[in-house]
């Protein structure tokens, strides 16, 4: 077909024009593809953060949180429980001898009071499809050398003699004593006992003592005070004790697709597959240089780090994760939990389930996705807002600019070809034939542009994914996390929020690619129409004009 040969010749022999126009169209299509894909990735990342519950197969969380700032509003029993659950006392002397190194871990639930794990047996199977009990505790970890700070003072045990000042005897009393002595000497003589002998002296003494007035009896006495040991701190404590705080989560390992962390969130190593294992939050691990295979000691128990996790339950993230039973044992909180993650049977019954769950036990607090979403801010949210406003406008402007440039290029190329087009008309080509030829060229440029645009778009998305764009989201600390700060003795600069890094996973689908292609082809068509209009208005006489 002649027209196709002509088309091919035009495209290949005017390569500069072909490249510049199709590149312009490619850029327009590329921008559309990348912008839409990125903004979709942003909104899905936003969804991930704004609905963290969904990431852990959960609709609703049940806790027994109390607001410690309004302690007065609590009833007596709850207040007492809150205080007893969060009481800290450390007797360093019980941890070893001075000079020995020690570690000490204190587990506190903070505002998330614990409750009996058995309440899960009361969950209504018609409303609850799945659930996972969890225990999140704040750990205050102390580490150092036991200081020589204990003084031992022993008192008492010694005998003390005391004398009293006694009134002297009256002459009558003295006479009575003398009489008693004389009588005793006579009695000794009658018995034939020498009064100066031992026996004699004793006899006389007893007799005289008996005659003495009452106040002279027992004039000496003894007492032994009870022995007591006092130990007390002396002066200021000067030690190398370091206090660090962290949160530890107890994971119900048997639950699979619901829980504080899921297997899919393990980024290195593996999930729990044996005893004495611990999983570490990736960000905590990198901050503290912890690797898979390392040993980690918690409350004197040595665990092996089996995996690093990127938890997605942003509102209730922990630094360390242990199987629930092990944490309960370590923390001395057997059969106690402070969080239940619940998946309701049907999405539409979430509110019904929420209502039912709030009556599960006294003081049960229920929170759903909407509530957790309110706490999120950060670069991710800004970026998502940015795309929805600025970038979409900017890309519209860029696409429009590309359209205009392509149209101008097309018109200029038509202008350069006026003699050619005039000649074609003069030798009998109809307007339709000439226009069709020009339109065919534009369409081809559009298709080339679309293909190049799609190719570059896919490449750029691939590269963006490869370089791993991450955006941060700050999540205001919820009751548990916020409370931790106040219960962390010695912790410094406790932040008010936790941030989660969300990696952008940019995906494109055929619809987006098609849309990008449509932009390029539309651009070509628009410029083709402008060109066609010019062609129709062109008079064939131009072919005869003798200008070079």
């Amino acid at each position: 077909m002649f027209y196709l040969g002509y088309l091919k010749a035009e495209l290949t022999r005017r390569l500069g024009k072909t490249v510049s126009i199709s590149l312009g169209l490619a850029i327009a299509s590329l921008i559309i593809i990348v912008i839409i894909s990125v903004s979709q990735a942003l909104s899905s990342a936003q969804e991930t953060v704004l609905n963290p519950l969904k990431n852990v197969g959960t609709d609703i969380m049940v806790s027994r949180s109390v607001n410690a700032e309004n302690m007065r509003d609590l009833d007596e029993a709850t207040r007492a429980e809150f205080q007893s659950e969060n009481r800290v006392s450390t007797d360093l002397s019980k941890l070893g001898d001075p000079g020995q190194s020690f570690t000490n871990d204190i587990f506190l639930p903070g505002e998330f009071l614990t409750f009996d794990q058995n309440v899960t047996e009361k969950l209504d199977k018609n409303l609850v499809a799945k659930y996972a009990p969890a225990l999140i505790l704040n750990v205050t970890h102390q580490e150092g050398t036991i200081p020589n700070i204990v003084a031992e003072v022993q008192t008492g045990g010694e005998e003390i003699e005391m004398r009293r000042e006694i009134e002297p005897m009256t002459p009558e009393e003295q006479a009575a004593v003398d009489a008693a002595r004389t009588k005793a000497q006579q009695e000794l003589q009658e018995k034939g006992i020498d009064p100066k002998s031992e026996e004699g002296r004793n006899y006389i003494r007893q007799a005289t003592e008996a005659a003495m007035p009452e106040r002279f009896k027992n004039q000496t006495f003894k007492f032994t005070n009870p022995s007591r040991t006092y130990r007390q701190n002396i002066g200021a404590i000067s030690t190398d004790i370091k206090t660090t705080t962290m949160t530890v989560g107890g994971v119900d390992v048997g639950k699979g697709d619901i829980g504080l962390i899921l297997s899919s969130q393990i980024v290195e190593g593996s999930n729990f597959n044996g005893g004495d294992q611990i999983i570490v939050n990736k960000s905590y691990a990198s901050k503290n240089n912890i690797k898979v295979g390392d040993k980690f000691k918690l409350a004197q128990k040595e665990c092996t780090v089996v995996g690093l996790v990127e938890p997605k339950l942003y509102s209730n993230m922990a630094d360390l994760y242990l199987p629930l039973g092990e944490l309960q044992k370590l923390a001395g909180k057997e059969n106690r939990i402070n969080l239940i993650l619940v998946k309701s049977t049907e999405a539409k019954s979430v509110s019904e389930t929420s209502q039912a769950l709030s009556g599960l036990f006294a003081g049960a607090q229920v929170s759903d996705a909407q509530e957790t979403a309110k706490q999120v801010s950060g670069s991710l949210i800004s970026a998502a807002n940015l795309t929805s406003r600025f970038i979409l406008t900017a890309s519209a402007v860029v696409v429009l600019a590309a359209f205009i440039i392509v149209s101008l290029l097309t018109v200029s190329s038509i202008n350069k070809r006026t003699r050619e087009i005039g000649t074609l008309k003069a030798i009998g080509w109809s307007n339709l034939e000439v226009t069709r030829q020009i339109a065919l060229e534009n369409l081809s440029l559009g298709i080339i542009g679309a293909l190049v645009g799609i190719g570059l778009g896919v490449l750029i998305i691939f590269l963006l994914n490869r370089f791993g764009l991450s955006l941060s989201a700050s999540i205001a600390k919820s009751g548990l996390q916020g409370m931790m700060g106040r219960f962390r003795p010695g912790s410094e600069g406790v932040e008010d929020s936790i941030s989660a890094l969300v990696e952008l996973k940019i995906a494109y689908n055929y619809l987006i690619l098609l849309l990008g292609a449509a932009v390029a082809i539309l651009g070509a068509t628009v410029s083709g129409l402008i060109a066609a209009l010019k062609v129709s208005n062109l008079k064939p006489q131009i072919a005869l004009r003798n200008v070079e």
């Binding site: 040969g5 002509y6 010749a9 000649t423 008309k425 030798i427 009998g428 072919a543 005869l544």
Partner: protein, 236 residues
């Protein structure tokens, strides 16, 4: 046999406020098989006559009949069909399409019937001595070769009338004469009706009739009976 008839044709161009009579009421007829040269100084109206003949423009007054049909009143579409079927054009600047090969350029003259066109284009290029250069782009051809390609293009659809606008204007005199010789040959051997607007001094050697125009009027209309047969023989 009468092929073309101009009846009191007037063509007025507006230049600013005043109207210029490019063609001032001329009448003539051209028979089939004529090789007519329209000569005259610049601005004499000879090119306007050619445009009117080719249906590229319409007269302000008067009638132009081609094969008995008045083309002055024809629609744009019918004029296009007339050019496509009955008229061949040769231009001073050759007007070849730069991206197309010699062969494709010739085919462009009969684009709507490409299979026939391809066959005929080859044969014409062979006849015009361009058999070896069919697949060259115009930029690789000499001026004379380009104009011969243009002649082939103008003939590919077998037009009744061949119109040439200064066909030798961009060629040296030797090459120009060669082109004229080709045209004379076509006229002599195939009875091709040719109307050529030219300045060439040699045209009287090849045309059979000369129409001398000045200021939009015909000064003289003379048939040339003697044609230089010798040069003609060497044409192809």
């Amino acid at each position: 046999m009468k092929l073309i008839e101009f009846k009191k044709v007037v063509k007025t161009f507006k230049q600013g406020t005043k109207a210029i009579n490019a063609v001032g009421g001329i009448s003539f007829t051209i028979d089939k098989g004529d090789f007519v040269a329209i000569i005259g100084p610049s601005g004499s109206g000879k090119s306007t006559i050619l445009q009117l003949l080719g249906g590229l423009d319409r007269p302000t007054e008067g009638e132009i009949e081609i094969e008995g049909k008045n083309i002055a009143k024809m629609s744009e579409g019918r004029l296009t069909r007339l050019r496509r079927n009955s008229i061949g054009f040769i231009f001073q600047n050759f007007n070849l399409i730069p991206t197309l090969t010699a062969l494709q350029n010739v085919e462009a003259g009969m684009a709507n019937r490409s299979t026939v066109a391809a066959k005929r284009a080859r044969s014409l290029l062979h006849q015009l001595g361009l058999g070896e250069r069919m697949n060259h782009l115009p930029s690789l051809l000499s001026g004379g070769e380009q104009q011969r390609v243009a002649i082939a293009r103008s003939l590919v659809h077998e037009p009744k009338i061949l119109l040439a606008d200064e066909p030798t204007g961009n060629l040296d005199s030797r090459t120009g004469q060669e082109i004229l010789r080709v045209m004379a040959h076509l006229n002599e051997k195939m009875g091709q009706t040719i109307i050529v607007v030219t300045h060439s001094d040699y045209i009287s050697n090849y045309a059979t009739r000369i129409l001398h125009v000045r200021d939009g009027k015909i000064l003289s209309d003379g048939a040339l009976k003697i044609r230089n047969k010798d040069v003609l023989e060497k044409a192809v």
